[in-house]
Symmetry: C2
Subunit: 473 residues, 2 copies
């Protein structure tokens, strides 16, 4: 029924591009309590308030808080119990500002549960208050949650080092069994990598001459950074390589729905929904063994469907070195660079222009995210430093802290791929950055709240503005 | 512009009764990630899946998990750090069942953050898995969260005792300054109560002959139970008494939007949005003093708008005695009663018929919730024991545990008022109860999942089925 061309067939029918609910797009729908669902009519002749009395501003604030909560939870999953943020890691001057504004957080889990109550609560708080709460949750997620997670991973998986890995779909080949994994279960990925390293000899009884573990999908570039894995790309790239039949086992948590069409069409590719595997306490070694076995079996099952890929990988300089923060900060100050530019790229379109313009203008540029593909292909990753995931913001903020506010901080997030972007954006606003955002983000933080932190947000049409460079300050 | 008759004016315009979004009512809309908003068309003409591949079952499961999370957060607000549930409090046989089903929870905060990640995660888990997670969160909320909260309140506010308090709008009078507070800030309420007791003499320089603190609104009956306060009723009753001008200061968190029309019309009633006051660490005594001062000032400002109330209060037997669980359980077993019936009444319509029928059939009946007004007015509270809030489920479950499964457990929740109902319903399902629910709850837990716990759910048209008694088993 399906051929390789329409393996991503339109049956079952997916969301039409142009046809999404306008109330949701305008942030005027609320389904948070049993008195709903409620809609506010932007034209003024229907309802002006929710059943509980919530108005458009309240809904906007709760929406922002909800988004930041969602992203924070995806980052932290079962790391709720992490300690309070360590004040020493905070840039000078920020700590007192954040305490003044009431956004210096307690433990991440505490902040998240308390924020959840505020989202759930019908018709109350002022928008600014909700936005401040969002910033607080975000700061907790980054300074307590993610910062601590990085330390934990450093301890258990070892420090990373600067290393060059193959990147892009060209790193695949029909003769190498490929296991693709996203960034949701780093311990599992580490176990698979370890076992593969222990099975380094060519595996020719399955028709393959090797087996590799490859990072892709959500937080894929973080995993590549953390474990020095080859980096395939984001879900769109992953889907294409699955359609071409050049991967064998795909283990992902987010958007595991991408596995469905392949399962429906009886594809030989083995899909594993990582959401069904708990992030902690699982038997990683046993599971790694099992997945390797399944990947090998899947590879044996059938011929490659289409092999018109040019098997020529790009390369990505990734990883970190221990003193990189100080080195980069020192260099930026010494060279009197224009500022620090952090690029968070959920998708790659138009990113080359943006990076080039920033480099030309003399910015220190660091980038992370699912959408590094164009930068990688154009050979920019090298001049541009790999932050290691959108959660690499922790490293970007460390560099910003190390220049002690002497250089401006610009942050670009031109496309929003998943909810993890939201706490990131809230965090950099708290740092007083100049933030350039996807057009859908116009209502994320009100200018007044951003101003409390000396930050400013520009939201525009992503493609055009990225193409235009967005760098004229 | 406004007169007292239409003080609850339609300007600003509220949600029309008959016109709510059908996609939301059917649970077929998702706005949880940036790829949305997504809608599934039940008629097969439009989209069948979300952009991430989520289907109707996945959306149903995430919706249930989201609802339970919301209610749990409202109950626990900043009590996230509470300890793990104590196994000893669990009914015999349940612990092993719950461990088998994977729903025996860890600490409440942990469960909630992990659940939040699952709600936020695009297109993955199976519905049953999400429902089990919801049950897990609910068990954590009740056995870790609320149970611990009750102990904390017992320690800091003292044990309650059986006491009779005035109830209903008849407890108000234009000559008594009335402060109304909901159940969201028990420490504040206790502080106000204490200061009022210290000011017991008539206050005639404001035209009043007394001042009283009264519980109403969300979790109002819990507060009345906890502190022995007069119990006014739910928000609808509160709104009427505000319109009649017989209250002076209203301090509420949930639906603080009810204050808005009065503020717009320049009403003398002082409204305080408790959501702006943190649940812990505040200066309760100072705040209590301030609110009493404001209430007295508000009372002085103007005449009562309309006083066609019959100032004849009903009474409510509330509170608990230390061995009441054992006493009730022992009595139920000795008299070989039909079973234990727990009534959670967010609204009062039709509840008298239900209670009468259950009593006639020989059930031990306990009730809690915002909608006790009809039972109180009909004099049933006495025969029917006051659980003390919908969170009084902890006490109801204690009684059910004390009969050691020898008597069936029926739970009725005919109207869903706020999200707190959801973890309550999930919890009683985990206990294998026979549950009778509002008609909108048809899709809350799938029969398969309920069956894993020996529970069954009946959802019907609330009014008719409550009137019909719902008690034919
Ligand atoms: Fe990949 S979509 Fe999500 S993971 Fe991060 S960059 Ni990967 Fe964007 S916020
Ligand atoms: Fe009052 S609406 Fe909420 S508080 Fe509980 S009973 Ni008060 Fe119903 S679940
Ligand atoms: S919280 Fe308010 S606006 Fe939202 S669904 Fe409930 S009543 Fe409607
Ligand atoms: S529930 Fe809200 S967002 Fe979803 S379709 Fe209906 S109006 Fe739109
Ligand atoms: S989670 Fe899936 S269904 Fe929900 S908004 Fe995102 S893409 Fe759409």
């Amino acid at each position: 029924m399906f051929n390789s061309k329409n393996i991503l067939a339109e049956t079952p029918r997916r969301q039409p591009e142009g046809l999404r609910c306008g109330f949701a797009k305008l942030g005027l729908c609320c389904t948070r309590c049993p008195q709903g669902p409620c809609r506010i009519d932007p034209f003024g002749y229907g309802a002006s308030l929710g059943a509980c009395g919530a108005g458009a501003d309240n809904l906007a604030g709760r929406s922002t808080l909800e988004k930041v909560l969602a992203g924070s939870a995806l980052y932290l999953e079962e790391s709720w119990q992490l300690e309070t943020a360590v004040a020493a890691t905070i840039p000078a001057g920020k700590l007192s500002l954040w305490k003044d504004r009431g956004v210096w957080p307690g433990p991440a889990g505490a902040e998240m549960v308390s924020a959840l109550a505020q989202v759930a609560r019908p018709g109350s708080s002022r928008r600014e208050e909700l936005e401040l709460k969002a910033i607080r949750v975000a700061l907790a997620a980054f300074y307590a949650g993610l910062a601590q997670q990085e330390k934990l991973y450093n301890d258990s998986l070892g420090l990373t080092s600067l290393t060059t890995v193959p990147a892009g779909p060209g790193l695949l080949s029909p003769e190498v069994v490929s296991i693709v994994i996203d960034g949701s279960r780093p311990y599992l990925a580490a176990a698979i990598k370890k076992q593969i390293a222990a099975t380094a000899t060519p595996i020719d009884n399955y028709g393959a001459r090797g087996i590799q573990l490859v990072a892709a999908g959500r937080e894929g570039d973080y995993l590549a950074w953390r474990l020095g894995l080859p980096y395939l790309g984001n879900e769109a790239v992953l889907r294409e390589t699955m359609a071409a039949g050049v991967v064998d086992l795909v283990a992902i948590a987010d958007t595991s729905g991408v596995l469905l069409p392949f399962q429906l069409t009886g594809s030989r590719i083995k899909g594993v929904n990582l959401n069904e595997i708990k992030p902690d306490g699982s038997n990683w070694e046993g599971l790694a063994q099992e997945l390797i076995r399944q990947a090998l079996a899947a590879h044996q099952e059938g011929p490659v469907i289409s092999s018109n890929y040019a098997f020529k990988p790009h390369s990505l300089l990734t990883g970190w070195q221990q003193d990189l923060v100080e080195v980069l900060a020192g260099e930026a100050l010494a060279k009197e660079m224009r500022g620090i530019a952090l690029l968070f790229l959920c998708e790659g379109t138009g990113t080359v222009n943006l990076a080039r313009q920033l480099l030309e203008e003399g910015f220190l540029v660091l980038a992370g995210g699912c959408g590094l593909d164009e930068l990688i292909a154009a050979g920019y990753m090298g001049q541009v430093f790999h932050l290691g995931g959108c959660r690499g913001l922790v490293r970007g903020l460390a560099v910003a802290a190390a220049v002690q506010g002497k250089l401006p901080l610009k942050v670009y997030w031109p496309v929003i791929g998943c909810s993890r972007a939201y706490p990131g954006i809230a965090t950099v606003i708290a740092h007083g950055a100049e933030v350039f955002l996807a057009s859908q983000m116009a209502n994320f933080i009100s200018p007044g709240t951003a101003g409390l932190f000396g930050a400013s947000c520009h939201s525009g049409s992503a493609a055009e503005e990225v193409a235009a460079g967005w760098t004229t300050s």
